[in-house]
Amino acid sequence: MKKIEFKNVSLKFGDKKVLNDFNLEINEKDKILISGKSGKGKSTLLKILLGFENIDDGKIMIDGKDLEELNMFEIRQIFAYVNQDITFRIGRIKDILKEISKFSGNDFDGEIDSNLMKCFEFDEKLLDKTIYDLSGGERQRLGLIMAIMLNRPVYLLDEITSALDTELKERVAEYFAKTDNTVIAVSHDDVWMKTGNFRKVVL
């Protein structure tokens, strides 16, 4: 996976223009921070890549190929997508992670690296609970740990630091700034820019 391009992309929700002639080129290993006011289409941008929103105009190119002509099931396997409130199935987190590990495109075996849990202050005992027993911050940490475990070429991170404290936010941003993978983060937090590795795109 080398390159993602948004070429003159436009999208409307009803009468409201969300994206208007939007252009962006993302190369392999790029670190991109998407920011802007609410309703400007930040999250929508990620959903377009995942095939959950259809654009009205323009093109999305992945490695020079039109997204419309690619197999969405295969495309999704290059992304590790986490949103601000991960929508897990109902059940014990451990069991759900096992299920997720069976999805295609993973190195993940369902077992979470305990160092990673320590690094992001996620209590291992929580894996025996359901997602609904976790606080907002715990869910976000679980989401980002899972995304890392999936080890896909591109991280799509949608507001994954909103419920974390400042110190942890910085740690998360630092982690993704140093990764070898491409990162596209949607966030209001300025910790991402402080790492010095991110390119900011304002919508």
């Binding site: 995942l50 095939g51 959950f52 259809n54 969405m72 099931f73 999704r76 396997q77 992304f79 590790a80 997508y81 949103n83 991960i86 929508t87 897990f88 199935r89 109902i90 299920e99 997720i100 069976k102 999805f103 295609s104 495109g105 993973n106 999936l150």
Partner: protein, 256 residues
């Protein structure tokens, strides 16, 4: 067996009237449906009584199978309407999932279980097929309603799984499991209590018709197992044949 007179039926129907009055009092708006259903039952069964005799006398193999296929068509329409599915073109998947396991089971039942010389004998094809169909109809309504409601209520979860690279099947699996469970539960429960808290219709009918109890019981056991297997394969088929219609070419859930 002593016959039931028309007046006997009328007496029984009179007992329905108080329930209609209570419904009205409690504002349960189901009276019209009850009346229509009872009238339909009276007409349908009276007609069945007339032409079953005719069909049994003819006992034409092709006609017997056609009769079963037509019953399935009516059942399909009933399932699609009762489960209030908004997906268009769902009739074909329901019909196929009903026809294939039912016909196979009737053939298996007649040929292997009760060892008939003529597996397409009207007296067996239509009665056994009809009994299976009645049960399958129920199972389909329960299962399909549970499945599509599950997907609708968990749209975000299905999409989340898809976004992580789940196949369609992996994404719908939790709701498929729930639907199969909901669909077969009543049959499983009735197998556990049969004979203790209820004497089933088929067995009672045979005993009233003069069969020895042990023979009636053997039939009942056979039909219960056949119902369970048919109901299971049926709901599985109905969901698997219809689930593709929930996704568009980009593998996202459509608004059905």
């Amino acid at each position: 067996m002593d016959t039931i007179s028309h007046i006997g039926i009328i007496y029984l129907l009179l007992l329905v009237l108080p329930t209609l009055a209570i419904n009205k009092y409690l504002d349960i708006s189901i009276n019209k449906q009850i009346v229509v259903s009872i009238i339909r039952m009276l007409i349908q069964l009276s007609l069945v009584g007339l032409y079953l005799q005719y069909i049994f006398d003819l006992n034409n193999k092709v006609l017997n199978v056609c009769y079963l296929l037509i019953m399935m068509l009516v059942a399909t329409i009933s399932v699609a309407n009762s489960s209030k599915l908004k997906i268009k073109k769902i009739y074909l998947p329901i019909y196929l999932s009903m026809a294939i396991p039912n016909i196979l089971m009737v053939l298996f039942f007649n040929a292997i279980v009760i060892n008939l010389d003529h597996v397409l004998d009207a007296r067996y094809v239509i009665t056994i097929g009809g009994m299976l169909l009645g049960n399958v109809l129920n199972g389909d309504i329960i299962g399909l309603t549970a499945f599509y409601k599950g997907i609708e209520e968990n749209r975000n979860r299905v999409n989340f799984d898809l976004s992580l690279g789940a196949t369609r099947f992996q994404a719908i699996k939790p709701y498929l499991k729930d639907a199969i469970t909901a669909s077969i539960k009543p049959t499983v429960a009735s197998m556990a209590t049969i004979g203790l808290v209820a004497l089933p219709g088929m067995m009672t009918g045979q005993i009233l018709g003069g069969s020895v109890p042990m023979n009636a019981i053997m039939y009942q056991i056979a039909i219960m197992v056949a119902i369970y297997v048919t109901r299971y394969t049926n709901i599985l088929g109905a969901i698997m044949f219809s689930q593709n219609m929930m996704f568009d070419k980009k593998d996202q859930l459509i608004n059905y």
